[in-house]
C-alpha cells in the first residue's frame, strides 16, 4: 500500500494497514519526531497533519490516509515556501518554548494547523484547539505567546500547510 508522507510516496506492507499510524511512522518509516504519549488520543504528543488538519496519529491507520497528504514534524518546514523553519517552529525557538521537549512536536503541529485555519486566533480559540495537547512541563504561557507571534509573522500565503 502506498501512503504519502512529507511529500514522498512510501510503501507500507498491507499487513499493517490497520495498525496505528504512529508506530508505522516511527518504526517503519523512521520518523521518530512524532511521539507516543498515551496511544488513546488523550495527550496530543502524536499529532500530525492529514491534508493540513491536525490528527492524532495513534488514532489513525495507514488505510485511513491513502490518497491523503500526511505531514509530520520532520516535514513541516517544507510546507512553507521559504527556506528554513515553518513560522510556528521559528516562533517556538524565539520564545524558547520547550522544556523537556517531548510534547512539543505535537504542540507545534496542532498550532500550525490552527493557524492555517484561523490566522488570528483569540485566546479562547487557542484554548479550544490546543487543550488536547498536554504539556507536563507547563510551557503553556509560552505556547500561547508563540502562537500569537507566529500569527503575526505568517504572511497569509504560507498559511496553507500541505495543501
Amino acid at each position: 500500500m502506498d501512503i504519502t508522507v512529507n511529500g514522498r510516496v512510501r510503501q507500507v506492507e498491507d499487513a499493517i494497514a490497520d495498525s496505528p499510524l504512529l508506530w508505522v511512522l516511527r518504526d517503519e518509516l523512521g520518523l521518530v519526531g512524532t511521539k507516543f504519549g498515551c496511544g488513546v488520543g488523550t495527550c496530543g504528543a502524536c499529532t500530525i497533519h492529514v491534508d493540513g488538519k491536525a490528527v492524532r496519529s495513534c488514532q489513525t491507520t495507514p488505510e485511513d490516509i491513502v490518497g491523503h497528504e500526511v505531514t509530520t514534524i520532520e516535514g513541516l518546514a517544507d510546507t512553507t515556501p521559504d527556506a528554513g523553519l515553518h513560522p510556528v517552529q521559528q516562533a517556538w525557538v524565539e520564545h524558547s518554548v520547550p522544556q523537556c521537549g517531548y510534547c512539543q512536536a505535537g504542540q507545534i503541529m496542532s498550532a500550525a494547523a490552527l493557524l492555517a485555519e484561523n490566522p488570528a486566533p483569540s485566546d479562547s480559540d487557542i484554548n479550544r484547539d490546543m487543550s488536547g495537547n498536554l504539556c507536563r512541563c507547563g510551557t503553556y504561557a509560552r505556547i500561547r505567546s508563540a502562537i500569537k507571534q507566529a500569527a503575526r509573522n505568517t504572511p497569509p500565503s504560507t498559511n496553507q500547510d500541505a495543501s
Partner: protein
C-alpha cells in the same frame, strides 16, 4: 525500672540522622545491599574529566548533569563559554555515557547550579590558564605576553596559534596533578559577546523532531518487548500461557517464576500479542484506599509522632485559635514521555551490556543492572538520552532492567516502551499525607503557638527503591524527603512539628519538591486561615511574623504585593485573590499571588493570573530560570485543582491521562515573574521552589471566596 529508650532517643543516639547517605554508608559492604541512588559528593578530580579541548579546536563538555528539561546543559555551556572567552558554538555539551566520566550524583533536588556552578567555573578557568601556558610555551613567550582572541592565541610579536593547532591532533584534558589552582574569585566575567540568556539545549532538534529520547533509538535488528502486568497491585503470577499467540508474531518469551514478558518484531505486533497472553494471578490482600486512609489518620497527639522536625522548650497550647485537618492525596508525575529503554547484549566484553535510557541517574541504573546480572560496572554502559519530563520519576531503575532481561532472552537488542497504564500502575507516586495544624496568635497578630503533626507515605525510603528487609530497617529512620519543607518560616513562641512515615501498599517516591509541596501547602493554608481568624490582612500577617533571618522571604512578599497591586483579598461576586509564600531547601525564596475567577453555581474556578516574586540568588540564565518557575506555578495549580490518584479495586485509579487530569492550556493563567537577585547571593535551585507557594495561593483565593479553608485536595467546591 529498666532504662527503655524511646524510639526517638534511639534514633538520635544512634546517629541515624536519616539521610540516604547515612543508611548507605551504614550498611555498605553487605552484599545484600541493593544499589542505591547516587548521592556521592564530587571530588575535584572528577571535575577534571568533564572538559576537554578537541583536536578540531572546539571544547567538549561531558555534563555530569542530566538534561531533563530544566535547561541545565545550555546554562553550563554559557558559563563555560564565558570563562573560556569563546563563543557558544565552540562549546559542545554532551550527556556522557557512564564510561566517560566518574560517577556523578543523580540529577535531583534542583542542585545543578548550587553544586555544579562552582566546579564548572573552576575547571573552565583552569582549562583557560593551562591552554594559555601551553600556547605561550609553543610561541616561545610567557603566558602574560599572550592574548586570546577566542579562536587563537597571539603573542606580542604577532605570531599566532589556533586552538586546533594547540591541540595538534589529540584532545587536551586536564591533569589534576599538573593543573594550576584557580585563584580568581568565582565571579562572573563580563561577557559582552555572549547572550544574556540561552534557550534549552538542542532546541532546533526539538522543534524539527530529531531523535533525542530513548524511544527514538533505532538499532539494527531491534525488537520490541513488554512485561505482562498484574491486574491488581501486589498480585503474583501463578501461570502464563503464550500458546494463543501465532508463532511468527513472537521472537522470545520470558518467564522467571515471578514475571513474564515477551518480545515481538514490532511495537504493533507486540501490542497484539500482549492481548493474547493468558495469565492467572493470585491476589493477596488487595490494597485498599480505606485502609490507607486509616493508616494515615492522625489519632495520636502530635507530640507522640515518631520524628521531630522542630520543637521549642515550651509546648504549644492545646487550645488553639484554629485547628485544621488537611488531606492530600497520591499524585502522579504524569510526564508526557512514558519511560522507555533499549538494551543490547554484546558477545565481546566491555561493554557486555549497553543501555539507552532517559534517567536522572545513569550511574544508579548502571550499578543496579550490573548487580542484577552479576556483571562488573565496567561491563555495563548506560547512554543517557534526553528525559521527556523527570520531576523525580526517573530516579530509579525499572524499564532499563526490563529491557536488559528481554534482550538477553531474545538475543537481540530490545526496546521496552512503557504504556500509559504502566506509568500509572508500575511507576511510583507522591505519597498521600494528612496534616493537623493547630495555631494561635495574640491580640496584636503575633503567632504564639504552632503545632503541626503529619503522617505521610515514604518519599526516599520507599518500597519502590528497596527490598523488604531494608524497608523494615529504614522504617525507624525519619524520611528526609517526607520532612522536606515542614519547617515553619514564621516565628512562633511555642512550636512543635513532628511526623510519622507510614509504609504504603503503593510504590511512592520523590515528586517535584518532595514533601515540600504538601507540607508548605498545609502551612500556608493554616497561616492564611489564622490571619482571617484574627481579621488581619494575610500579607501583613505574614510580614509581621517573619523573623529577620528570613528577610529575603519578606522581600519576595513585598515585591509580589507591589507587582500584583495587592489590596487585600479583594473578594467579589465572581473572583478573589490569595497569597502564599515559602522557602525551599532553606535557600530559595518565593511568594505568589493568585487571581481566581469562580462560578458560584457550578463550583468551577479559573486561575486568571499568577504573579510571582522569586529569589534564587544570582541568576545565570534568566530565561531558563523563568521557564522553571512557570512550570512550577502550573504544577502547583494542577496539585490543587485536579490532580488526584487513589486506590480503587486494588489498582491505582488512573490508567490514562483522562483519569488523572493535569493542567491543560485552558487552565493556564497569565503569569508574571520577578526575579530578585540580592547582592552577593549565591546561585541556587529554581526547579522545585515555586510549587510550594502557587497551590496554596490559589487555594487561599478560593478560601477567601467561600469563607472556608481548603482542607482537602484537589479542591471541590460543590
Amino acid at each position: 525500672m529498666p532504662n527503655v529508650l524511646s524510639r526517638r532517643t534511639f534514633l538520635s543516639r544512634s546517629g541515624w540522622t536519616a539521610t540516604g547517605l547515612t543508611i548507605a554508608a551504614t550498611v555498605s559492604g553487605c552484599s545484600l545491599v541493593p544499589a542505591l541512588p547516587s548521592r556521592n559528593e564530587l571530588t575535584e578530580t572528577d571535575a577534571f574529566t568533564w572538559l576537554q579541548l578537541k583536536p578540531d579546536g572546539r571544547f567538549l563538555f561531558c555534563s555530569p548533569r542530566q538534561e531533563i528539561g530544566q535547561g541545565i546543559s545550555s546554562t553550563l555551556k554559557l558559563v563555560i563559554a564565558r570563562e573560556l572567552g569563546v563563543e557558544l558554538e565552540q562549546v559542545e555539551v554532551i550527556a556522557p555515557d557512564t564510561s566517560l566520566i566518574a560517577q556523578a550524583k543523580s540529577t535531583v533536588g534542583s542542585e545543578s547550579i548550587k553544586d555544579f556552578l562552582e566546579p564548572v567555573t573552576e575547571i573552565s578557568q583552569i582549562m583557560s590558564e593551562t591552554l594559555r601556558a601551553r600556547a605561550a610555551q609553543q610561541l616561545g613567550t610567557t603566558p602574560v605576553e599572550v592574548a586570546f582572541t577566542g579562536r587563537e592565541f597571539v603573542s606580542s610579536n604577532g605570531s599566532r596559534l589556533s586552538l586546533s593547532e594547540l591541540a595538534a591532533g589529540t584532545p587536551i584534558l586536564l591533569d589534576p596533578s599538573e593543573a594550576p589552582t584557580a585563584t580568581k574569585p568565582l565571579q562572573p566575567k563580563p561577557a559582552s559577546h555572549l547572550p544574556s540568556s540561552v534557550p534549552t539545549a538542542r532546541i532546533a532538534d526539538i522543534v524539527t523532531g530529531a531523535p533525542l529520547f530513548a524511544g527514538d533509538i533505532q538499532l539494527p535488528g531491534l525488537a520490541h518487548g513488554a512485561f505482562i502486568r498484574p491486574p491488581q497491585l501486589g498480585a503474583t503470577l501463578s501461570e502464563t500461557s503464550f500458546d494463543a499467540i501465532p508463532q511468527d508474531q513472537i521472537l522470545a518469551r520470558y518467564f522467571d517464576g515471578e514475571r513474564a514478558g515477551l518480545v515481538a518484531p514490532t511495537q504493533t505486533s507486540l501490542i497484539e500479542a500482549l492481548d493474547l497472553v493468558e495469565a492467572s494471578w493470585t491476589t493477596a490482600a488487595a490494597a485498599d484506599q480505606d485502609a490507607i486512609n486509616t493508616s494515615l489518620a492522625l489519632v495520636e497527639p502530635v507530640g507522640e509522632l515518631e520524628h521531630i522536625v522542630f520543637e521549642t522548650s515550651g509546648r504549644p497550647n492545646e487550645q488553639a485559635d484554629i485547628d485544621l485537618s488537611i488531606s492530600i492525596p497520591f499524585a502522579a508525575h504524569a510526564a508526557i514521555e512514558p519511560r522507555a529503554a533499549v538494551a543490547r547484549w554484546n558477545d565481546k566484553v566491555d561493554p557486555t551490556l549497553e543501555i539507552w535510557t532517559g534517567t536522572q541517574d545513569a550511574f544508579y541504573v548502571r550499578s543496579h543492572i550490573a548487580k542484577h546480572f552479576g556483571l562488573s560496572e565496567k561491563e555495563v554502559i548506560v547512554y543517557s538520552q534526553r528525559v521527556g519530563g523527570g520531576f523525580g520519576s526517573r530516579t530509579l531503575c525499572s524499564v532499563e532492567l526490563e529491557a536488559a532481561l528481554l534482550a538477553k532472552e531474545a538475543r537481540r537488542p530490545v526496546k521496552v516502551q512503557w504504556s500509559r497504564p504502566d506509568e500509572f500502575q508500575e511507576g511510583f507516586h507522591r505519597p498521600p499525607s494528612r496534616h493537623r495544624i493547630r495555631a494561635s496568635a495574640n491580640e496584636v497578630g503575633m503567632l504564639t503557638d504552632w503545632s503541626h503533626g503529619f503522617k505521610s507515605g515514604h518519599v526516599i525510603f520507599t518500597s519502590a527503591a528497596m527490598p523488604r528487609w531494608m524497608q523494615a530497617v529504614t522504617s525507624f529512620a525519619s524520611d528526609p524527603g517526607t520532612a522536606r519543607g515542614a519547617h515553619l518560616p514564621y516565628a512562633a513562641h511555642r512550636a512543635e512539628i513532628s511526623f510519622s512515615d507510614v509504609r504504603m501498599p503503593v510504590k511512592t517516591g520523590p515528586w517535584r519538591g518532595l514533601g515540600a509541596a504538601p507540607n508548605n501547602f498545609s502551612i500556608e493554608t493554616a497561616i492564611d486561615q489564622l490571619a482571617s481568624n484574627k481579621g488581619l490582612d494575610p500579607l501583613i500577617f505574614r510580614l509581621a511574623n517573619l523573623p529577620p533571618e528570613h528577610k529575603r522571604l519578606s522581600a519576595c512578599l513585598e515585591q509580589v504585593a507591589k507587582n500584583a497591586d495587592w489590596q487585600g483579598r479583594s473578594t467579589t461576586q465572581t473572583s478573589a485573590r490569595g497569597i502564599a509564600c515559602g522557602i525551599y531547601k532553606s535557600v530559595t525564596y518565593v511568594a505568589v499571588i493568585a487571581d481566581v475567577d469562580i462560578d458560584q453555581e457550578s463550583g468551577a474556578f479559573q486561575v486568571t493570573r499568577l504573579t510571582c516574586a522569586h529569589d534564587c540568588g544570582r541568576v545565570i540564565n534568566p530565561d531558563q530560570v523563568r521557564a522553571q518557575i512557570e512550570g512550577n506555578l502550573i504544577w502547583g495549580l494542577g496539585m490543587v485543582k485536579s490532580e488526584e490518584l487513589s486506590v480503587k479495586q486494588g489498582r491505582l485509579s488512573a490508567d490514562y491521562l483522562g483519569d488523572y487530569q493535569i493542567p491543560t492550556i485552558a487552565d493556564a493563567p497569565a503569569i508574571s515573574i520577578e526575579l530578585i537577585e540580592p547582592e552577593n547571593a549565591a546561585p541556587v535551585g529554581a526547579g522545585e521552589a515555586a510549587i510550594v507557594a502557587s497551590g496554596a495561593a490559589i487555594a487561599n483565593a478560593v478560601a477567601a471566596f467561600t469563607g472556608q479553608p481548603i482542607t482537602e485536595l484537589p479542591i471541590r467546591l460543590l
